[in-house]
């Protein structure tokens, strides 16, 4: 019975994705066009005939509404069109090149952040208010508050320039070029998850069902791993949905400092260059990912937390 209503709920949620995406596309499409300046504006104005031909090529000479519906039509067949800025590539090609890189780095950073963060958080909660707890939480506070554009150059200086163990940046697809960016990206995630985990773990350890479990004489590790950990993970899980989406679509700062060809820079470069198609492409892609990941988080929630049920109304 529960499974059935879960499926029904999943179906409803998935149906809700479409209007959300449509709204996103519409808002971004018109916002981009409102921004002053166009993709072909540069220091040197183009001869008028060339400008006109360029606009015709990208259909910018059509009325805005017609452009909008043309774009919607393209999206239906998953064609994001050619990039204005990187003229030799289509937006699909750019996403196909950039996403695996961002996914690799962001994915590993999330994994590292989750594993280390949860472990540190649990240990901290178990040793609440001891020196070790204060030390790790102080460290976590530092991790949250030191921005990555400070951490990254320091890591580069230490491990690449002075020690020479790892590359100073760039991307050749190998693991060595991923180490420093993954660590830099993971540090704030570790810190954030550790703090979340510690808080919710402490709360769990003081709740009645844990007291009951202990009173039954269960071994402490059993109480923690089997009974406390699962519900304590809930806030972490709900944080992880959007955080994962943000991490695997690339970080502008990390990509710039480590010269990594991920997706993140396209948001900024695309917007600054008025590369309409590129911005639309990455925004839709990002929007889709974040909706899907939130959906997955919701589903995980109902599996982890028996209190959440999707009953029929």
């Amino acid at each position: 019975m529960r499974q059935q209503s879960l499926l029904r709920h999943a179906g409803q949620r998935l149906l809700g994705v479409l209007p959300t995406l449509l709204l996103l596309i519409t808002v971004v499409f018109f916002l981009m066009r409102i921004a002053p300046g166009g993709p072909f504006d540069s220091e040197k104005a183009l001869p008028p005939d060339i400008q006109a031909n360029l606009e015709a090529k990208y259909h910018l000479d059509e009325p805005l509404l017609q452009q909008y519906f043309r774009y919607l039509g393209q999206i239906l067949v998953l064609d994001f069109g050619p990039s204005f800025q990187y003229k030799d590539w289509t937006v699909n090609e750019l996403i196909a090149q950039g996403f695996p890189v961002s996914l690799t780095i962001g994915g590993f950073a999330m994994l590292l952040g989750f594993l280390v963060g949860v472990t540190v958080g649990v240990l901290s909660a178990l040793r609440q208010n001891t020196a070790a707890d204060y030390a790790t939480m102080g460290f976590a506070m530092l991790g949250v508050s030191i921005p990555n554009f400070v951490v990254a150059p320091v890591l580069i200086l230490l491990f690449a320039v002075y020690a020479g163990w790892l590359p100073a940046g760039g991307w050749d697809g190998g693991w060595r070029s991923a180490v420093l960016p993954v660590i830099t990206l993971a540090l704030p995630v570790i810190a954030y998850i550790a703090r979340l985990m510690r808080g919710s773990m402490i709360e769990m350890l003081h709740s009645n069902f844990i007291r009951t479990a202990r009173a039954k004489g269960l071994p402490e590790w059993h109480v923690i791993l089997r009974h406390a950990l699962k519900p304590a993970l809930l806030p972490v899980i709900s944080y992880m949905g959007p955080a994962t989406a943000a991490l695997i679509t690339g970080s502008v700062v990390i990509e710039r400092i480590f010269a990594i060809p991920g997706l993140g820079s396209y948001f900024v470069q695309g917007a600054l260059n008025r590369d309409y198609t590129l911005v639309m492409g990455v925004v839709i892609f990002y929007g889709f990912l974040i909706i899907m990941l939130n959906f997955i988080v919701d589903m995980l929630y109902s599996i982890l937390n028996p209190k959440i049920r999707y009953e029929e109304r």
């Binding site: 921004a35 002053p36 300046g37 166009g38 504006d41 540069s42 220091e43 040197k44 104005a45 183009l46 001869p47 008028p48 005939d49 060339i50 006109a52 031909n53 360029l54 090529k57 800025q85 990187y86 003229k87 030799d88 590539w89 750019l94 090149q97 950039g98 150059p153 580069i156 200086l157 690449a160 320039v161 020479g164 590359p167 100073a168 940046g169 760039g170 991307w171 050749d172 710039r256 400092i257 480590f258 010269a259 060809p261 820079s265 600054l272 260059n273 008025r274």
Partner: protein, 524 residues
């Protein structure tokens, strides 16, 4: 699964053994060059950015090329002749020139390229460089067919070009990618088209690297030392510097702002700073108050800026202070002498104050003015310093406005909001005209809205004058321009690179073009 891994490990072991046993290096080390931003296009007609042009000069070749010192040298054309009136050029092409797929390279490939560049439907971004060719204006405006362009092939290896008027810098334009030959095979994607340069594009991962391999069919392949060149797009100069320090780059595209002195101390043998044919200035909008019709006030603003302090202390990347528009030494041109250059600071400021007061401003009634620039840390430093100098010397109240590049460019071109704005120019060709024509009354880039018929006439006279007279007329024009002060020249650009001492053949030059075919990489 485990079998798979065992297999893989075995494979890796074999490679390792092979590497250890192989006699000497099997593959030469590639030369790794920083490129700045990702190239906007590798289509010779679509490329605009310097990064793209740099790569295209390695993978393609025009009628002329540039030697290691950045001077003109024969390219696909082995010789050329110019008629006495300068209007007709005859090129003889190398018979051994060929495309990377083995097709012979003939005069028709150049005709095809130029016609396509100018045809409006091909949307070539830099086509206007070809305007000196007779008939080009009509073609680019769509008034005439591309075939009417005055370029013809008297034979498969002979090319004849007629010009609209004598253009002393025309030969230099023939090293620009928009004038390169075009293979008939157009349908394929840009990356698969045949090329005719010293290198072939082997692999291109956007924003990661462009791997170039020596082209065995290049006519002078025996003179090309490098087997592989890797261009690495790195937007952040700080990152580029780290990579250079870590040994991952041999040549950087630039150096980070403010690091010049540190690098001069710690990387003296690698730092290369040299004059570059670009100028940086503040433009003044002459079509609006408060600067319209006030040459004295404009001059006061110019005199109040201490270029020495600005370049040495504020910018700190080796820029050269400038009092004139055209960088010194372009094509034998001598910039007009600015008297203020020899004045003491006190004299200069005294003169500035006098002019400022004569224009009707004072402590009690200060000039309020807007200084507009595009968002960038470097420009902000410049703007803050200039505003401080104006305030200190004259009491001017400056409002600093920064705008995103696209917005800034539009506002500057329209001129309905601007008062003082950031300006600058990097010459398309090494001739003073490249700078001076920006202030012709009808020039689209004249965002100062400077209108002076005498100035226009001087440029016109120079265009038709004999070679000896030309530079003198241009000098007069610049003198006039500086007197009217529609711009405040601040400094001339420099090219800045870090070059690994192992790299040979890298010669500083004002065009800042360093073709990979002239470079070699010594043993570590």
């Amino acid at each position: 699964m485990s079998k798979f891994f065992r297999h893989r490990r075995c494979y890796a072991l074999q490679i390792l053994l092979l590497c250890l046993l192989a006699p000497g290096p099997a593959m030469a080390e590639p030369l790794r060059r920083g490129l700045g931003p990702e190239p906007d296009s590798l289509d010779i007609h679509q490329a605009q950015g310097l990064a793209a042009l740099q790569v295209l000069r390695d993978t393609h070749e025009g009628l002329l090329s540039l030697d290691a010192a950045g001077e003109l040298m024969p390219g696909v054309a082995e010789s050329w002749r110019q008629s006495d009136d300068g209007l007709r050029l005859e090129f003889t092409l190398r018979e051994d020139a060929q495309w990377s797929n083995g097709d012979p390279l003939t005069a028709d490939d150049f005709i095809r390229g130029w016609q396509r560049a100018l045809a409006p439907e091909s949307q070539a971004r830099t086509a206007s460089l070809l305007l000196p060719v007779r008939g080009a204006q009509a073609v680019i405006e769509g008034r005439a067919a591309a075939a009417t362009l005055a370029i013809s092939a008297p034979g498969p290896h002979r090319l004849s070009v007629e010009l609209e008027r004598p253009t002393p810098w025309f030969l230099e334009l023939l090293t620009h990618p928009v004038t390169f030959p075009l293979h008939a095979q157009l349908g394929a994607s840009v990356r698969e088209r045949p090329v005719n340069g010293a290198f072939l594009l082997q692999e291109h991962v956007p924003r990661a690297y462009l791997r170039l391999q020596r082209n065995p069919r290049f006519h002078s392949v025996h003179e090309v030392a490098l087997e592989q060149v890797e261009y690495v797009p790195i937007e952040d100069p700080g990152t580029e510097l780290s990579q250079f320090r870590a040994g991952a780059l041999h040549i950087t595209e630039t150096i980070p702002p403010g690091r010049h002195d540190w690098l001069a101390e710690n990387y003296a043998d690698a730092l290369r700073v040299a004059p570059y044919m670009g100028s940086f200035w503040l433009g003044l909008n002459l079509s609006r108050p408060p600067l319209a019709n006030k040459p004295g006030l404009r001059r006061a603003l110019s005199l109040a800026i201490d270029r020495e302090v600005l370049t040495r202390v504020v910018m700190g990347a080796g820029e050269q202070p400038a009092w004139s528009l055209v960088p010194d030494g372009l094509a034998g041109y001598q910039t007009p002498q600015e008297p203020a250059r020899r004045w003491s600071d006190q004299q200069r400021l005294q003169r500035a104050r006098t002019l400022y007061e004569r224009a009707g401003y004072s402590e009690q009634k200060p000039l309020r003015i807007q200084l507009r620039f595009n968002t960038s840390a470097t420009h902000r430093r410049m703007a803050v310093a200039v505003a401080a100098m104006w305030k200190q010397a004259l009491g001017v109240r400056t409002e600093l406005l920064h705008e995103e590049w696209k917005v800034f460019v539009n506002n500057r071109a329209q001129g309905t909001l601007t008062q003082v704005f950031r300006g600058g120019w990097i010459a398309d060709y090494a001739d003073p005209v490249s700078f001076l024509e920006l202030f012709r009354s009808d020039d689209a880039l004249n965002s100062s809205f400077y209108r002076n018929q005498d100035y226009d006439q001087l440029l016109e006279d120079a265009a038709t004058a004999a070679a000896g007279q030309r530079l003198a007329l241009l000098r007069q024009a610049e003198q006039l321009l500086l007197r009217d002060t529609p711009v405040i020249p601040l400094y001339t650009y420099v090219s800045r690179h870090l070059v690994d001492p192992r790299v040979r053949g890298f010669i500083n030059n004002p065009r800042d073009v360093h073709l990979s075919r002239h470079l070699t990489l010594g043993a570590p």
